[in-house]
Symmetry: C2
Subunit: 356 residues, 2 copies
């Protein structure tokens, strides 16, 4: 079993930023560790979680930030505005915090139509109301036209990048860090995987794949809140966005020092996603999701958690995909559909650039 | 006296985003009112201040966000990293809040050298320590090469955009809203104006202006904190960034419904700034600053405020530039050096694109 991909040569050769540095895989992680942590390190940043736990005048807060550069900016099931709200409120939810406030910062390429801008901002507003957060402060910058020569996709118009930073209040007694996985825990996914990434790929002009598939982009707090209320001792929560389910599982395994075993035949994958992955040479495990969560909880809590999840519109297809093992420390192993075993690894670079 | 510029034709003709929409002038304001407020409006966002006053579990917070797209990314006196920290902590300071935490989100163009990235992130770290804030969470995205065809400047390398969102704790009993100006108030500027904007223009390759001028980019909380401690009843604070001193004064006049009279000969302007402004056809009043504040306080408090400001390295050249008047409601009038009077207006579009 090949446990190490030959990545060091790529890394050594690169003295410039490559697309792969933004892919959410191994190169992203090394860039963050080598540059960000070294130059900015402090105890709050150190865990490199999706957000920061803060205490201000006795109030426990969570702060998280994300920029969105998805291409195209409109896609089946959503747009960059909806994505920018969901991505950030879901990071808060995964950290056991109720999303409260968002900032919204737009970098707009000259030439974007006002109609497109309005459509995106309207989508931000609608999604914020759906998610129960208020957009409380903002910023708008404009950059010169032509800043959009995408190597990998065909441009259909001018571009926009969005940053949202979220502030939430932490639920008392909840600690959903990826370091908390324990042997015997159930690993639950809240629904079908890979929808977002494949919907984006299908929407790109270069790719003429006809499909009814939509991105799963949706806010998750209303799904997660009742789970945390009923079972506050949930061990880990993680949304499998960039890097997909594989990336999230590897984070859990590495941070907790535990092994994870999953079953390929348990993975909920829509036929359209499976089909597109076949054509594109992708593994659904590596494809981004924007409306799904991984929930790791004690085996004895699993049925209760599943029942709550399945009672919510966004969790109807929730299921157990694996267990935290007593062996394989730090590794993720998949029992394949044909009865074999393989290591699940974090992709080194980017499989799908500009997916979020 | 011409009180209205002929802008409506520009506005009506534009169904796309123009560089001028990002200039911080009238078109930026209308875009924000027409699109953002209409689609996102809520009571916290409504004041359209530089940040938001929030109350979470009994704690009074201020949250503010800004994206930085300055071109070039390295310039005399600073770089985009230092700017991204100072701009945001200064917005908190102007709202009477002690800067505590920052998020840091990078959008990097493929091809940026790792050395440049490291230099920028190091500058972020150094400036954060200087400003007394911690970078607590972050995000990194990479966009395809070639997204940088700047109409207005010559590219020297790959690009980077930075968003920082700041969180601060509000000082009790302090309200520095621009709506608070009252007749008789002194209008103080903490030092020479126009340094940042002119330093950026000089640094652009196309412009062969030799100068020793440096950007004034610096964190202001250590300057402002002792002022607020000694005189908590300061009426308004504003940092004259995009739009310059003129933009900030117009905001104060419009929000408070008061008139402001300033004296041209009182304005502290370095000879290099005056010279470059002459060549470029710019008014120093419209040029961005990144390390200066406007302080509006009761006339009877002015000497005390000036003494505190001048005792700090960043406020040595603090001086009174004008007064809040009982007439001219909502307008800013300048007594010119040659004895005349003119209206000070917000520029409609952009005088200096990508200055911050």
């Amino acid at each position: 079993m090949n446990t190490q991909r030959p990545i060091s040569s790529v890394q050594r050769g690169a003295d410039v930023i490559l697309m792969a540095h933004g892919g959410g895989g191994g190169m992203t992680r090394r860039l963050i560790e080598d540059v960000m942590v070294r130059e900015l390190g402090n105890p709050i940043l150190a865990p490199l979680d999706d957000g920061a736990y803060l205490r201000l005048s006795g109030t426990d807060l969570v702060m998280t930030t994300d920029s969105y550069v998805v291409d195209p900016i409109f896609f089946p099931g959503g747009d960059i505005g909806r994505l920018a709200v969901c991505g950030t409120v879901n990071d808060l939810a995964m950290m056991g915090a109720e999303p409260r406030y968002l900032s919204l910062a737009l970098i707009i390429e000259e030439g974007l139509s006002l109609a497109d801008l309005r459509r995106i901002v309207r989508s931000v507003g609608r999604t914020a109301r759906e998610a129960g957060v208020a957009i409380v402060t903002g910023d708008t910058k404009v950059i010169g036209r032509g800043r959009g020569g995408r190597g990998e996709a065909i441009r259909t118009g001018s571009d926009i990048f969005i940053n949202t930073t979220g502030l939430g209040t932490r639920c008392r007694g909840v600690d959903t860090s990826v370091a908390n996985a324990r042997p015997g825990d159930a690993v639950i996914v809240t629904g079908a995987i890979g929808d977002h990434g494949i919907a984006i790929m299908n929407a790109r002009d270069g790719l003429q794949l006809k499909s009814s598939l939509k991105s799963d982009v949706q806010p998750l707090w209303s799904l997660i809140k009742p789970v945390l209320k009923a079972v506050p001792r949930i061990h880990c929560l993680r949304d499998p966005t960039r890097g997909g389910v594989a990336g999230a599982l590897c984070d859990i395994a590495r941070s907790s020092g535990r092994g994870i075993r999953i079953q390929e035949k348990s993975l909920p994958v829509r036929p359209e996603v499976r089909g597109s992955c076949g054509i594109l040479g992708l593994d659904p495990l590596n494809v981004a999701n924007e409306g799904k969560a991984l929930v790791v909880c004690a085996g004895s809590d699993a049925n209760r958690v599943l029942k709550i999840l399945r009672g919510h519109r966004a969790g109807k297809r929730a299921c157990i995909i694996g267990r935290v093992a007593s062996g394989h420390a730090g590794l993720v192993v998949m029992e394949t559909a044909c009865g074999g075993e393989r290591l699940v690894d974090v992709p080194t670079g980017e499989d799908l650039p500009r997916i979020c």
